[in-house]
């Protein structure tokens, strides 16, 4: 029986976090598809999804063997490390100290990088006429390979974060399936909108989403860590909502104080 007080934040967090990650991966896939066509883009994407699927199938059964308290503690600490990173960065972005994520700029940068690598791959221009068509075919294959690898890398790296979030918010209470559905819902939403507009999804309020997800991940992190070290939270799972409210206040305070401290400081590149 699903406890909705835990399932709702778990599904919501998995959906929103996946939305952010899938939007980032989609930008790279779109750049690859625009420059080299959908074949290398989809090949790289599906290869990465296969690796991620294998990872989940390998890790999933292993987690069932770990004692629940140990699993909660490990996942709780990892969630704190991961979620606080997101919350701190989102607060600094909200304070104007590091620039906002710009999908259009990333699309342009990725396209330029792929073009440059494509020109390098095509650079070996043979002088012999007979070898020219062979060399052209090799050059096209090489450019497609580079483009496919770019899509593979983007999906794998963003997908790793999605897999971690799904496992982290779902494993502690047997909510892997609802959390996975949340993540799949985000993939479907981004793909549907992306297929319709066929350009980077720059209007997704990424920092607001990251702020919200950071808040939820920190709340889950404190909750699981507490359960892992043997704490019994008053109100049980419902304390998640209180923790989320407190982390939201802390994140807003962090953004406000950071803005105040560095008032007038120009934005610099995010690390």
């Amino acid at each position: 029986m699903i406890e909705w007080s835990t399932a709702t934040p778990a599904i919501g967090s998995a959906f929103l976090a996946s939305l952010v990650e899938v939007v980032e991966a989609f930008t790279i896939i779109l750049a690859v598809a625009t420059l080299r066509g959908w074949r290398p883009a989809l090949a790289g994407t599906f290869a990465a999804l296969a690796v991620l699927g294998a990872l989940v199938l390998t890790l999933g059964p292993l987690m069932g063997r770990v004692p629940l308290h140990v699993l909660q503690l490990v996942i709780g600490v990892l969630l704190l490390l991961f979620g606080m990173g997101w919350l701190r960065k989102a607060a600094l972005r909200a304070a104007g100290l590091i620039p906002l994520h710009d999908e259009v700029a990333i699309f342009a940068r990725e396209s330029a990088a792929l073009s440059a690598e494509g020109h390098t791959a095509a650079g070996a221009d043979p002088s012999a006429t007979g070898a020219r068509s062979d060399a052209a075919a090799r050059s096209t294959a090489s450019q497609d390979w580079i483009a496919g690898i770019a899509a593979f890398k983007a999906v794998l790296l963003e997908g790793l974060e999605v897999v971690f979030i799904v496992i982290a918010v779902g494993a502690g209470r047997g909510l892997l399936l609802p959390a996975s559905l949340g993540a799949l819902g985000a993939c479907a939403a981004v793909l549907a909108v992306g297929a319709a507009v066929r350009k980077p999804l720059a209007r997704v309020p990424e920092n607001t989403l990251k702020f919200g997800v950071g808040v939820m991940l920190c709340a889950f992190g404190v909750f699981w860590t507490g359960e892992g070290i043997g704490l019994e939270w008053p109100g049980g799972d419902l304390v998640l909502f209180l923790l989320a409210g407190l982390f939201l206040a802390a994140g807003l305070l962090a953004a406000g104080l950071a803005r105040q401290v560095a008032s007038g400081a120009p934005a610099e590149v995010a690390r």
């Binding site: 709780g76 490390l81 606080m84 600094l92 070290i229 104080l257 401290v261 560095a262």
Partner: protein, 76 residues
């Protein structure tokens, strides 16, 4: 190999965005765990330390980043 290196770097970066902040979080969990082990249920002190500490961490490290940015701006 380069792809593997990138993946590993990304994995580490996922959890250690700021090394000092990661150390602070681990220290906080260690203190809360020790308090929980030393006290009887309902472990109010451990709960308070874990919650208050976790709420303070993003605020402290965001402000520290802002101060570093301000100092760097002055030096330019």
């Amino acid at each position: 190999m380069s792809l593997l290196r990138t993946v590993l770097a990304e994995l580490v970066g996922m959890f250690v965005a700021d090394a000092a902040m990661a150390v602070a979080i681990l220290a906080l969990v260690a203190v809360a765990g020790a308090l929980a082990a030393m006290t009887a249920p309902p472990h109010i002190a451990a709960m308070a330390v874990l919650t208050a500490g976790a709420l303070a961490v993003p605020v402290v490290f965001a402000v520290a980043y802002a101060q570093r940015t301000k100092r760097a701006r002055r030096l330019r």
